[in-house]
């Protein structure tokens, strides 16, 4: 895909984040969509392309009153929205549609109008993982981490520092769910969830949503907000079974998606001003820093523990507070994208001064899928 041909011209989250007991999941989608439409100064009738995950495109297009000529229902977990951005950019460039709306929302906490997840007993996961006591992401996502720690010499304290540093960012964000400072000792003394991970190393469970609107770069200058251009993109999938990853030392899906996006963007790691790495659990930023090629995996724990990713550090990471402290409705990728767009617009609560390039990296499932989007505010 060619650089900077497509831009984000509308971006918004749901009016509220956190606990939203008065809205169903599809209404959370609509709330985010209507906020994004208003942000872009558009009408719903201007939307001719639509993408969403978990909820089907037909469900949400009908609820919103949209008649799209291009749809994408890619649903590969929390990074689905990174893939939607990539697919939408390609579709706009190919002339299949002009203005794409991407929505995410999840009643992750209140569970209103949300279909329960179900593992069929004759699926591969149902036969070869479920019988051994996996029960939701906290019991599955951390399974690789002890091997990762042993291979790369990562310590429990370094993995605790991920949560500590992200809380520092969250403290600057009025919309963050958790804002009180925490220490390494607080993390290591919090309730055990799935050894080696404790409560403060696991993502929040909240309600919320977000929406993005994309159009061609040549139209983007006519919108009310500063356009945020798509500079590079990448995507991949590996396996729905965490036990079947090729290795626990890295994520194959990360190692495919990340470098693809860097190559397409034509940038090096030194060019990156701002970084989002989807943090459902505390090990993900370490996998991301290594797999995206910022540094060898061995250095990732020390890099974070030394403060390089904290406010004022040389590589600002997860500047909204992340899934650990900002919010996590179940599929956090949309909120990472929203924060990258805010940073590129220059309106983030914890704004990185003069940031021009933002890398936004997402994970889906338990390392099952990955999507990377690189944004810039300069064309």
């Amino acid at each position: 895909m060619r650089r900077n041909q497509v831009a984000v011209v509308g971006a918004a989250e749901t009016t509220e984040l956190g606990v939203i007991p008065n809205m169903s999941q599809i209404q959370l989608h609509a709330d985010a969509a209507l906020n994004a439409i208003a942000d872009a100064g558009l009408k719903l009738s201007d939307i001719d392309g639509f993408a969403t995950a978990v909820e089907t495109p037909q469900q949400m297009a009908h609820y919103l009153g949209i008649t799209p000529t291009w749809v994408d229902g890619t649903s590969v977990g929390g990074c689905s929205f990174m893939l939607h951005v990539r697919h939408a950019a390609a579709a706009i460039e190919a002339g299949l549609c002009k203005t794409v709306l991407i929505t995410h929302a999840e009643s992750g906490k209140s569970m209103i109008g949300k279909q329960p997840r179900f593992t069929a007993p004759d699926s591969l996961n149902g036969q070869f993982e479920a019988p051994f006591g996996v029960y939701g992401p906290p019991s599955m996502f951390p399974i690789p981490v002890l091997r990762f720690m042993k291979t790369h010499g990562i310590t429990h304290e370094q993995l605790a520092m991920v949560a500590v540093v992200q809380r520092e960012w969250a403290a600057k964000n009025p919309r963050a769910t958790m804002k009180d400072p925490i220490t390494v000792a607080d993390v290591l003394n919090s309730r055990m969830i799935a050894y080696p991970f404790r409560l403060l190393q696991c993502c929040l469970v909240t309600d919320g949503g977000g929406a993005l609107i994309l159009t061609s770069a040549d139209r983007a200058k006519d919108f009310p907000n500063k356009p945020v251009y798509i500079l590079g993109t990448g995507e991949s999938v590996e396996t729905p079974m965490v036990s079947q990853m090729k290795t626990f030392d890295s994520s194959r899906a990360f190692k495919v998606a990340g470098p693809l996006a860097f190559k397409e963007a034509g940038i090096t790691h030194k060019d990156v001003d701002h970084l989002m790495i989807y943090d459902a659990f505390a090990h993900l930023p370490l996998y991301g820093l290594g797999d995206l090629g910022f540094m060898p995996h061995e250095e990732t724990g020390k890099f974070i523990a030394d403060g390089n990713t904290r406010p004022g550090g040389k590589l600002p990471l997860n500047t909204n507070g992340g899934g650990l402290s900002y919010m996590h409705s179940g599929m956090y990728g949309m909120y990472a994208l929203q924060e990258s767009v805010r940073q590129m617009r220059g309106i983030a609560p914890a704004q990185v001064p003069n940031a021009k390039i933002s890398v936004c990296h997402g994970v889906g499932g338990m390392f099952a899928a990955s999507g990377t989007i690189i944004f810039t505010n300069e064309k």
Partner: protein, 137 residues
């Protein structure tokens, strides 16, 4: 009322040989006749070279502890926390999820790379699960 039971696998035509194996006290894997790749989970073709000429064979049942969590909460039905959910690297190469029995469910007792051997636990007259215990000797 009966205690809630652990999730029970339901075999498909492609996996039936595996579950027939565990019931017979054998851990069965597949090997590609064309490229010798040994793979898991079961399927009637090689995921490495796409050959449909593959054979089922009895694996050694030996492996080592590749990684694990000790799950505290929420616990799956049929499990009493804390319990370890492990990934075992078999001597033949493939890895599989399992549980470690005859071993304290603690970080001290569960050492990465410790040798393991398969043990079979019948859930009912149709399904037997492959579990692992610390290897003797």
């Amino acid at each position: 009322m009966a205690e809630p039971a652990r999730a029970k696998p339901k075999p498909t035509p492609e996996t039936q040989h595996f579950w027939d194996g565990t019931k017979a006290g054998e851990l069965r894997l597949q090997r590609c006749d064309a490229c010798a790749n040994v793979y898991f989970p079961p399927r009637p073709f090689c995921p490495s070279c796409a050959s449909r000429k593959v054979s089922v064979f009895k694996a050694s049942g030996k492996g080592k502890l590749y990684s694990y969590v000790i799950n505290h909460r929420p616990a799956a039905p049929g499990f009493t926390p804390p319990y370890a959910i492990a990934v075992v690297e078999l001597d033949e190469g493939p890895r599989m999820m399992s549980n470690i029995i005859d071993c304290p469910q603690t970080p001290e007792a569960l050492e990465l790379d410790m040798p393991l051997e398969v043990a079979f636990e019948a859930l009912d007259d149709k399904i037997t699960l492959p579990l692992f215990r610390p290897a003797k000797g």
